[in-house]
Subunit: 209 residues, 2 copies
Amino acid sequence: MEKNWTDLSNKEIDKMQKIAKSAAKLFNEKGYLETSMDDISNAAQLSKGGIYHYFSSKNEILFFISANFMDLLLRGLEEELQKIEDCFSKLKYFISRHIKFYSQYLSEAKTVIHEAHLLPPDYFKVIADKERQYHQIVSDILFDYFEGKIEKDRLKAVAFILFGTCNGIYYWYNPKGSITPDNLSEIIGDILCVGLTGYKQQKGDTGGF
Amino acid sequence: MEKNWTDLSNKEIDKMQKIAKSAAKLFNEKGYLETSMDDISNAAQLSKGGIYHYFSSKNEILFFISANFMDLLLRGLEEELQKIEDCFSKLKYFISRHIKFYSQYLSEAKTVIHEAHLLPPDYFKVIADKERQYHQIVSDILFDYFEGKIEKDRLKAVAFILFGTCNGIYYWYNPKGSITPDNLSEIIGDILCVGLTGYKQQKGDTGGF
């Protein structure tokens, strides 16, 4: 299933994004299953009819949030990475870009992580495919970074650890606090990139990953 | 509020742990709010009366799971750390111990992370206090590790990043797969410890965290 929102005017898209933003915040606070269309209508300050004009169901709102967020992560990423020569810089760029989008769209990120799996299978497949595509990009960078000398399962583990480190931020991070998104991306980037270099070095020295 | 389970026999505690294990798995699959006492009774293969003999409510089961898991993390930790001399080894030990318990009790860990906040405030306070205590232990190690030369907010961020990295594993980790809990703890330990050393070095060189 692939929903086509390309025929809509900018004004319509803006309205949908406003509804989606209110809904994502509610999903974070109450959980997707506990949130009703009435709650969304109240939070978005629109009549229920107004919401149904844009979205035929709550599932569709969840799908809109998730697909848009994944598209935001994927859009232009491969082209941007191609312009960077070495894998270490690619990795650093990927992490810093990921943190930037996550801290800028915390409610949407949290919604994708915690609620997207509640979508009906045909909707969820679209999101899972986008997630796989995003995951593959970082796995490819890591594979090059380890010069191919890493077992498949370890590569998978390292990629997941990388995402775990970046994605755990939504539990506690307040982008309006004293640590700016740039600071955060620098801290995580330093820890992960240096850590991976150390891991590569150490395992390379002992002859095996 | 502090529930006292110390007067129970080992046999009773075993039974409660069996119920709690089944409930934790259900909370992971369906979410706490969506799980009924009927579901728990079916999964634990006990009558509802049998469940109510041990727990007066679903809240009490969630509390039992969360308190037990946090106690498991805290029990003996400070004594074990005191026996280790340098902060780097303390940090490595803490991470490896954390991963060991998390991979061994994945359902319980996930329940604490995702469901404990749904407890009534007086129950939740007990869990949050234990979490704070655990968090404080790692913050103290990190503070020593950075020789006190780290701002409070950055220290907090680094501690949360450490937990995020370790706790993200439950999304994907299968302890029965080719990466054993020991392998995983080694991979994460290497990445984080080397990463933190690099972070410390880098910031120390430029004169500020």
